[in-house]
Amino acid sequence: MLCALGLLSQGRLLAQNLPEHDGLEHLGVKSCSASTCHGSITERNAYPVLQNEYQTWTRHDKHSRAYEVLLNERSQRIARNLGIEKAHEADICLDCHADNVPAAQRGRFFNLSDGVGCEACHGGAEQWLGPHISASATHAGNIEAGMYPTEEPQARAKLCLSCHLGTDKKYATHRIMGAGHPRLSFELVTFTALQPAHYRIDADYRERKSVAAPAQEWLDGLLVSGQQSLAMIRKHYQQGEGLPELALFDCHACHHSLDDLRWQASAFSGETEPGMPRLEDSRLRMIALLESGVLGSESVAGALRALHDASLKGAQPLMAATGQLENSLAAAATRLRERAGASEALSRAIFAAAAGRQFQDYADAEQAAMAAQALVAGQADEAALEAVFAALQNADTYQPQQAAAALAALGGLQVEQQGSGGPAGDLGARRGGGALAVVSVTSLRMRAGPGLDQAVLGSLGAGTRLRVLENREGWSRVETLDASTGGWVASRLIKPVSR
């Protein structure tokens, strides 16, 4: 059965060409968007599909604006910084911001400006456009004719990650990031929902296509992500005089205020020391956590530690370490998949890890939050879930303890006390948290509590730099950077300082 997608079938799936390399003619969005096909303004129920897929995409899905983004000022600045004349004409940008197939594959209605259009994901329609509307058409037949199997989690993950993480052929390098490109992030279930989905899994969908349980889907996404991460590391980790590709490392390991001393030891970080960049391992770490939390074994964790250690030693050892990790991953994945039906066990492991302060880094917490969402969707306390994402709203003002508390709370747990054997975070807890801000008025009164009725403790001069510890109804609790004084001030009279 097609739907029984174990890792056994992974080989076949990953071997399937991504739409960008399918060699088929991409006919263009217009060939799908007729109002009687997929361009209906409202959902219809005459056929298995909603028929308003185009409208959902063009109105709500940012993929439809991916090309347009290249025209904005930020993109132009990035292009300038990279020495590219026009972002919207450069393959390096278009490869992800459009359906950048070779000219020969561009059909009658094809427009690069459509961004990530229908066929960028569903594959060139050259061979299936006509047949796919016939009564005798089957999904398998369509796939056979070149349609990309987006309903299969691993295939979809591979497709999405080709841009949202990168491939050996296209990758948002540290140079691109340095030029101004925003940080990338991905989790299959969350991003599928956020897109937003332009299909509904209902009876006729199930009839035609395989449907993975969310936990399964999440796990598949995670595994493919992990594998892809490793593949990226293998491909891009340089040896020699130059620096390794820095985008492979955890952004926030380096990118934070000098006042915000975040480093801490972790179970997976091996011999990496304070001040050293460390490979971005959030997905791998998540698998390691699951392995230990659910399966009770540590082979991925061990291999991950070895990878980090190897990252200090050079390319050769690193390559060896990635190979080992890949094997561990495969083994863990097979076992985890067996447990995927019991999504509770998976989520429990995540919440426990959160309570144990294992998601200190922003990227880790972000993965954990998205995982939690995917696993508890529909059953979770909405407010608690909101709180998790609120804690992750801004990577720059991210406070690990807040995120950890919110995540733990979502699982009905409490964060373990400091110093109880968990990774030490004293310094971070005391000094690390808090956005930086500056007094924007000539003189700012500092009060004992949030409210005009509170006693005035003193005043701060214009330009005084502050750390914001807490916000409450228009008031912020602040302290000076040397922590010499503190109190409550009106939030609107201070301005955030970006780091």
Binding site: I41, Q55, E68, N111, S113
Partner: protein, 1253 residues
């Protein structure tokens, strides 16, 4: 399955059908009885092989096609018979002679057979001409064969994929025509429902259908809030509808015209029973048979059924006879392009295909030389404006000519090119043939009666002097171009500089006032997308309610950029997303690129333009900043400050988006069809164009009278459309005539009364589609100008009327010292040219020569003895007369043009015991009717009018005639019984007499400003407030010596007295203040008549004095005109328009009635101006029985409301209305009542500067 044996059926019938003359909609052809096989609907999906089998035999002959499935998309898999039906298994294996019986047999067997082969000219494929209801009579199988997209069968051919859209389209206003049926029925007093109930639709079998909207729950609320109608009913046949009119001839009783109406079935072969004339009955009334007999019909209803007004609409084929009329029915009416217009601005890439409806198909079987074929066998969304114009060429049908910069031609401009040198005397057969194509009565005498001439009118343009014509001729009409002109009518170029009338290049130098959207290259479909064309699926009665697009959807507002979501009345709650639209090349139709909003053309996707963004235009520093735009949009609503700034709150602005439509200012001109004559002729047998068809008696031509393009008027839209201030047009106000079977004119030129009791001289807010960037409305178009030179403009703006387009009609009504007299001054046939006029010279050269041979004397007059008549007024079929010691009398003049009458003006239609319209007064000097348009206030009462139709109540003054009496002062007489259709209650009595302390002694004349009366008396000028008409209040008396007459124009009152003409400021209506510097000394000033920027003074021995009053406070004599000495005792003058020309009718004690042409294309090339300079020339005259003293004013066709806000004329569309008195005042006085002034170009810039930042 039955297979038709064709040779047995077809040939004998063909012989039977040798019918002489025209075959219209299967009239005369006996239908064949054919049993059809079942042709299954086209499937949603099938294999290519299955589809190929359904085309196999077809493509044996139709070897090539432009798009085999009509769709350019490869995903559509269809065979020929899926859509057309027929038998694709019939193969033509080898070449036959196309005339051989074998070939014909195969052709017949393969093709679906018509029931009416002759009418369809089977087997030829071009659309038949004037087919109309043929589609209702033909079998649905054959209709599907000819046009699978016809709405009767479209569900079968197209429904598998397009089902919901077909449903919506058949309910859309383009198919139902509900706005015309409903509007015409309401405005002309036929049905009292402003939520319309009539709409056209048919079943598959061509039967009249009731349409139900998809939502029936809470229907009243849906209607009240969204204008969504629950149900539309078929339009009843005209024969069975009772006349809505209150004309005398429709009153009960009277003699029967028995010889014409044989009483079949009544045991009285000679009809003697009906011929008994009972004493005391009116002389001539209707047959005692029902509606539809003896002219007992409603002319507008007859018109809607039989005259080419808007029809054919979507349910029928185009008439396929002349450029602009080639198209099919149903979906293909829009989506299949025909060659209609050679102008690329109208036709885009199709212009090269010509305008004769010829095809360019690759199908070898389609005749290339026969009109009525589509260009290609292919659907398109690239629909050119020219296609839309095949329906939208007429005012009640969204007059889209304006978008193209054209309006209806008036028969006068460039007359020498358009009328034959030899007068035409077409016989009835010839006339019938021409009128089937073009319903204008005038056409039969014009050169454009000839199709070939019509097709080439566009080519005349280089030679023309007065105007330029369009290349489309829907309905056979001609359309003239509008050029930028100043108020005097001088042509202007883009920079506002005058272009000389002698300049041979003048029409390329002057600005052609097409919409800026057209100039950009836009077609209708570039604004009105799928939903506007297909409808929402709901039923609507008003066009604007069914529109989803709004200006701001693409242009944004002063405060925000456009969000590209539709927001018009028919838009879904969050709007449709225009960014989702894609053109035929697959690209987005709208796209933001680099902060610029780009739109790409639907017709030519390679053509794109940048959208003007309102926010940019008002933002100082922006490259697109436009100070005038910013000033207008950001002006604070404080007239004394007149400051503007981007920092003001929207709620403080003068021109709030919530209060005023964008196009109120962004309109370069509006069309106003001030009057249309529908003269019914009982003897004319014609075909019904709708429903069951059929030929019957009675026909009315359709005759636009005065079409002006420089009238700018304001009113309010109904709440359902936002209740904003919008431009108002005069919308096809009718006057009706009827010639019965004896060729007796039983009523002439009668305006109906609307269902709401208001006059049917209908007005309605509309979007004129004439948006331009430079030629917009400016400050001085709606507010007092600093030079104070726009008093007439303001009068026009507020719908107070300007006495310029007034309709004098067939007769001039003259009061003499001992008679009232009707003098026919025009031809009766169309065009109703004023005898002796410019138009007369060209349209009727023989008659004109005869007239000149009579030394310009008018040949006829009809009179009745009377007292001395210094005042008389015609309204409806009554003449209201003040005749001195004989008091006040209302004459019955219904039969004034009836040759069956010897005494055509009578005091009563029968015994005075049953009718007495005389009111004795001591010395009646004048009578004034608050409205000289027929109104009937009693119709405008009750819940239906007030709550459902949202009509404003009448002011009570409209119940009365106001009579001045030298001894008794002011007398009010209730005259409503004369307009209630009841013949037994016509006894007039005085309702009130008012002469407090004899203050009104010597009352001589009265002028009204709403309910304020200005009465000239022995003492001077008395101001009487008639807000409560039966309890008048004397406001003030201004002493004047020898006060004679008075006339009101907006803020000024003009009075003649012994010293000449005086001007009073009546900004405060009850307290006139004389402008002493404005006196014009005249020795013998008598009556005065104001027409736009001129005052016409009947100046006794000085003749006619024309005073320029453009600046009312600085009047000057423009000309004294005495017609070579004929005018030497000039008592009265009235002004009226006929076609494009302005006329003065002068009553002279010495020489009688004199008709003076004031402007004509040859004397005043600027005749299209708002107020061209008069060039008076006498064109006709007639002595009167006794010295002529007075004239009846013409029907005031542009007066919708009075000076105190009392509504007079019906407003089309629910909830719309003229401005109220306080709303009017807000445009020109401040809170304290002080006038304030504006300038188009400010001397000092009053922008609030940086200080506010």
């Amino acid at each position: 399955m039955m297979r038709l044996e064709l040779r047995h059926v077809w040939f004998p019938i063909a012989a039977l059908c040798a019918w002489p003359g025209l075959l219209l909609a299967a009239e005369g052809e006996v239908p064949r009885d054919i049993e059809y096989p079942h042709y299954p609907p086209a499937p949603y999906t099938q294999t290519a092989a299955e589809a190929a089998a359904k085309s196999a035999g077809c493509i044996d002959c139709h070897t090539a096609s432009d798009a085999a499935t009509m769709h350019r998309s490869e995903t559509v898999v269809l065979g020929c018979t899926d859509c057309h039906g027929g038998d694709a298994s019939i193969r033509v294996e080898h070449a036959y002679s196309h005339h051989s019986p074998e070939y014909m047999a195969k052709l017949d067997a393969a093709h679906v057979q018509p029931r009416y082969p002759k009418t369809w000219h089977y087997p030829h494929s071009e659309n038949p001409k004037h087919s109309y209801t043929l589609l209702n009579k033909e079998s649905p199988e054959y209709v599907r064969f000819v046009n699978p997209s016809d709405y009767r069968v479209a569900q079968e051919a197209c429904g598998a994929c397009h089902g919901p859209i077909i449903k919506a389209a058949t309910r859309s206003i383009m198919a139902t025509g509900a706005m015309l049926f409903g509007g015409a029925a309401y405005n002309n007093g036929i049905l009292p429902f402003k939520n319309y109930i009539l709409g056209e639709a048919y079943t598959r079998d061509g039967e009249a259908a009731i349409l139900e909207g998809p939502v029936q729950e809470d229907a009243d609320a849906q209607t009240a809030v969204n204008g969504i109608l629950p149900k539309l009913y078929p339009f009843p046949p005209w024969e069975t509808l009772k006349p809505g009119d209150i004309f005398r001839v429709f009153e009960r009783g009277g003699r029967n015209l028995t010889n014409l109406f044989p009483e079949t079935g009544i045991p009285n072969s000679l009809g003697l029973l009906q011929r008994i004339e009972e004493p005391g009955r009116p002389d001539i009334r209707q047959s005692n048979r029902g509606p539809g007999t003896g002219g007992r019909i409603s002319v507008p209803v007859l018109n809607m059924h039989k005259t080419r007004l808007n029809d054919p609409l979507m349910w029928f084929l185009g008439t396929n006879d002349q450029p602009g009329d080639f198209r099919t029915s149903g979906c293909g009416a829009c989506h299949v392009v025909y060659a209609n217009d050679r102008d690329p601005r109208h036709s885009g890439q199709y212009a090269a295909a010509g305008h004769r409806g010829l095809t360019q198909t690759t199908d070898p079987t389609i005749a290339r030389d026969k009109s009525g074929h589509p260009l290609q066998h292919v659907f398109t969304t690239a629909i050119p404006t020219a296609q839309c114009m095949s329906c939208h060429m007429h005012q009640p049908n969204m007059f889209v000519n304006t978008y193209l910069g054209y309006t209806m031609w008036d028969y006068e401009s460039d007359a020498p090119f358009m009328w034959p040198e030899e007068q035409r005397y077409p016989d009835h057969d010839e006339m019938r043939k021409i009128l089937d194509r073009n319903p204008e009565g005038a056409v039969v005498r014009g050169k454009w009666a000839d199709l070939e001439f019509l097709e080439n009118v566009w080519d005349l343009n280089p030679k023309l002097n007065d105007t330029q014509f369009a290349d489309y001729h829907g309905h056979g009409w001609n359309f003239r171009a509008i050029f930028k002109r100043d108020r005097k009518g001088n042509l202007l170029d883009a920079a506002g500089q005058q272009v000389s009338n002698d300049d041979p290049e003048k029409f390329s130098k002057a600005v052609h006032m097409s919409s800026v959207h057209l100039d950009k290259g836009m077609h209708c479909v570039d604004c009105h997308f799928a939903q506007d064309s297909h409808g929402t699926g709901h039923l609507y009665g008003e066009v604007a309610l069914a529109v989803e697009i709004d200006c701001k959807d693409c242009h944004g507002s002063a405060s925000s950029y456009p969000n590209l979501r539709t927001s018009g009345p028919a838009a879904p709650p969050a709007g449709n997303d225009l960014r989702a639209l894609r053109n035929s090349d697959g690209r987005r139709r709208f796209e933001w690129v680099d902060g610029k909003l780009i739109q790409r053309s639907v017709l030519d996707p390679s053509k794109e333009w940048e959208m003007s963004l309102v926010k940019d235009s008002v933002m100082p520093g922006n490259p697109d900043f436009n100070e005038k735009a910013a000033r207008a949009k950001l002006m604070k609503g404080d007239p004394n400050e007149q400051r503007w700034s981007v920092h003001f709150e929207e709620s403080d602005l003068a021109h709030k988006d919530s209060e005023i439509e964008c196009y109120t200012c962004h309109t370069s001109w509006t069309t106003s069809c001030a009057g249309c004559h529908l003269p019914i002729e009982a003897n004319w047998k014609t075909e019904r164009h709708h429903y069951e068809g059929g030929i019957s008696r009675n026909y009315a031509t359709y005759n636009p009278q005065v079409v002006r393009d420089q009238m700018f008027m304001l009113g309010r839209r109904g709440d359902r459309k936002g209740g904003k201030i919008a431009p108002v047009r005069s919308s096809s106000a009718l006057v009706l005539s009827s010639t019965n079977a004896n060729r007796e004119r039983i009523y002439i030129q009668q305006p109906p009364v609307a269902a709401s009791g208001y006059s049917s001289q209908a007005l309605n807010p509309h979007f004129p589609h004439t948006v331009r960037k430079t030629e917009t409305k400016e400050c001085e178009d709606c507010h007092l100008s600093k030079d104070n030179d726009n008093n007439a403009i303001m009068a026009q703006l507020l719908l107070l009327g300007t006495n310029f387009t007034n309709f004098i009609g067939f007769n001039a009504w003259v009061g003499g010292s001992g008679h009232v007299e009707a003098v026919p001054v025009t031809e009766w046939t169309e065009p109703q040219a004023v005898i002796g006029s410019y138009l007369h010279r060209y349209a009727y050269p023989d008659y004109y020569q005869a007239h000149m041979g009579r030394d310009q004397r008018l040949p006829e007059a009809f009179e009745h003895g009377s007292g001395p008549v210094e005042c008389l007024q015609l309204r409806a079929e009554y003449l209201y007369v003040a005749e001195g010691k004989k008091g006040f009398r209302v004459y019955d003049v219904a039969s004034v043009a009836n040759k069956g009458f010897s005494q055509r003006i009578i005091t009563a239609p029968f015994s005075p015991l049953g009718h007495d319209t005389h009111v004795g007064t001591k010395d009646a000097s004048c009578v004034v009717l608050p409205a000289n348009q027929p109104v009937h206030p009693a119709r405008n009462e009750g819940e239906l009018m007030r709550d459902v139709n949202k009509e404003q109540p009448f002011h009570p003054i409209y119940n009365y005639a106001l009579v001045t009496d030298r001894q008794e002062g002011l007398i009010l007489v209730d005259i409503n019984t004369l307009s209630d259709g009841e013949l037994r209650n016509n006894y007039l009595e005085r309702a009130a007499t008012y002469n407090p302390g004899n203050a009104l002694a010597g009352a001589r004349y009265l002028a009204l400003a709403g309910h304020i009366a200005y009465i000239t008396t022995s003492q001077g000028l008395a101001v009487v407030n008639l807000d409560q008409p039966l309890a008048p209040r004397l406001e003030t008396i201004l002493p004047l010596k020898g006060a004679h007459s008075a006339a009101v124009q907006f803020r000024y009152l003009f009075v003649t007295d012994a010293s000449g003409m005086r001007v009073f400021d009546i900004t405060n209506l009850t307290n006139p203040a004389e402008i002493e510097a404005a006196r014009i000394p005249l020795a013998d000033a008598r009556r005065i008549y104001l027409s736009r920027t001129y005052a016409f003074v009947a100046a006794g021995r000085e003749g006619l004095v024309i005073v320029d009053i453009e600046k009312p406070e600085q009047p000057s004599i423009y000309e004294k005109f005495d017609a070579d000495g004929r005018l030497r005792d000039t008592n009265d003058v009235v002004i009226g328009s006929t076609n494009a020309s302005l006329f003065a009718y002068v009553a002279d004690g010495a020489s009688g009635l004199n008709v003076v042409q004031l402007t004509a294309p040859d004397t005043q090339p600027n005749f299209y101006g708002f107020s061209p300079e008069p060039k008076p020339q006498l064109v006709a005259w007639r002595e009167t029985q006794s010295p002529a003293l007075a004239l009846s004013r013409g029907l005031e066709r542009d007066r919708g409301v009075d000076e105190t806000g009392g509504q007079i004329a019906v407003f089309g569309r629910l909830g719309s209305r003229p401005l109220t008195y306080p709303e009017m005042r807000r445009l020109y006085v401040d809170a304290a009542g002080r006038p304030w002034y504006v300038e188009n170009l400010p001397q000092d810039k009053k922008q609030v500067g940086q200080s506010n930042e």
